[in-house]
Symmetry: C2
Subunit: 257 residues, 2 copies
């Protein structure tokens, strides 16, 4: 695998607002047609986590949540709604760090992120202040289903990446990161590759799916401008059915917990 020389990223414009039980593959197909675009072999379809969560009915009415004692405590120290904290705890394996309003957890999927990636903005409910949007149950599974459907419809070999905007420990600003993948190895393993002087490259793995996610994020805004789907064209990648798992660092090598 070598680096390509040109990349094109195309956002599907005016993507419709997604509702529970919407068929995302069908919406993508319609949107491609409206934009006069056709999928090509090797394309990577990147979807914002929010529309996958919405289609899968991952909104929860806060009024349906009963906070545990632990949630009440954490809610006091973080100055958050205890029902939201209860959801965060339900979606987490453990609390990693908390200070002031910040609550960083290991999400049940293994990702270390603030608030278990739960989002309260941009929800399609009557009472906007009363719902939270959780991450999909199984982003890899969602990506796989979408890939199968799109490949069957369009007859092209593609990959699917689901991204999310996530904060970082030492840097301001969110960046797009991959939370689920299908049909693409999320890491570019360069172990054994040589540089121009035949020395073994020092960096052995490139976070390919994360870089693709960050690139697509440039076009997504926050998924609130009708551009939650981006086609990435020109990346040379290895196919894989292993999902996002290779990206999660073993706790054993995690120096910050």
């Amino acid at each position: 695998m070598t680096s390509p020389s040109e990349l094109n990223l195309i956002a599907l414009r005016d993507f419709p607002l997604v509702k529970p039980q919407d068929d995302l593959a069908a919406l993508i197909t319609d949107s491609l047609a409206q934009s006069n675009l056709a999928l090509a072999d090797g394309d990577i379809v990147v979807l914002a986590q929010k529309i996958v969560s919405k289609a899968e009915g991952r909104q929860v009415k806060l009024s349906s949540v009963t906070p545990s004692a632990k949630a009440e405590d954490l809610a006091k120290s973080t100055d958050k709604d205890p029902r939201l904290v209860e959801l965060i705890l339900q979606e987490s394996n453990e609390v990693v760090r908390t200070k002031g309003p910040v609550l960083i957890v290991e999400h049940r999927l293994g990702f270390v992120m603030a608030n278990a990636g739960i989002d309260q903005s941009n929800i399609t409910h009557g009472d906007e202040n009363d719902s939270a949007l959780l991450l999909p149950l199984d982003p890899d599974g969602s990506a796989k289903a979408l890939r199968q459907s799109l490949e069957a419809t369009h007859g092209k070999k593609i990959a699917v990446v689901i991204n999310d905007s996530v904060g970082r420990a030492w840097r301001m600003g969110t960046v797009g990161l991959a939370i689920g993948t299908a049909g693409i190895d999320p890491l570019w393993d360069r172990r054994g590759d040589k540089d121009l002087f035949d020395r073994t490259l020092e960096i052995t793995e490139v976070g390919l799916a994360d870089e693709i996610s960050a690139a697509a994020s440039l076009l997504m805004g926050q998924g609130d401008e009708g551009t939650p789907v981006v086609i990435v064209r020109g990346v040379d990648y290895r196919s894989s059915d292993g999902g996002i798992a290779p990206v999660l660092r073993d706790k054993e090598f995690d120096l910050f917990r």
Copy 2:
């Protein structure tokens, strides 16, 4: 500012090997001409840190380095060359974490990164095993000078970003991150922006320069294939002379130190 609908990233092919005191702006201008490309207003020129460091003579022969006692100790525990560890310490404000072979520091520029970003591969010395490449002294300054030179030569209003491939605490694989900028606000401040339902957006700042850096990194490989310069076209950004500083998180809000 709104999200655009299309992005194009173009790598300058067959970029020459960079040597100390090379004029990078001149090399870029030549390369653009060879590729039949012209800079356009709004373009972002992304350069791999390695070529900036090389042009600025930031290689150090390890044989010229005398390790301190502290370096010798750390070298034992990390199983690294003590002369390399001495350089890492010289380039750092403090050691943040070390375990086994891993040595994470706060670089003198403020970035938290492994080995102070010092790289040993792909060095243009007779004895390849004897040199290390440090980060530029002042990446923002380097970006600014490049920007001024390119704008003067090409008569277009552009931005410059210097990126580097960096590992992460909880995820495998490196991603491109910005270490210096000129002519672009590295953060997209969306404070006060509303979503489709007129609710204030939850995410207030997007790491724009970092996402641009990650996207460009997709085309750079490791800067060892002759593609260490990428033109990013189509990003809507705010101009700024503040450099990369806004991206560095205040230690006060750093939960992991």
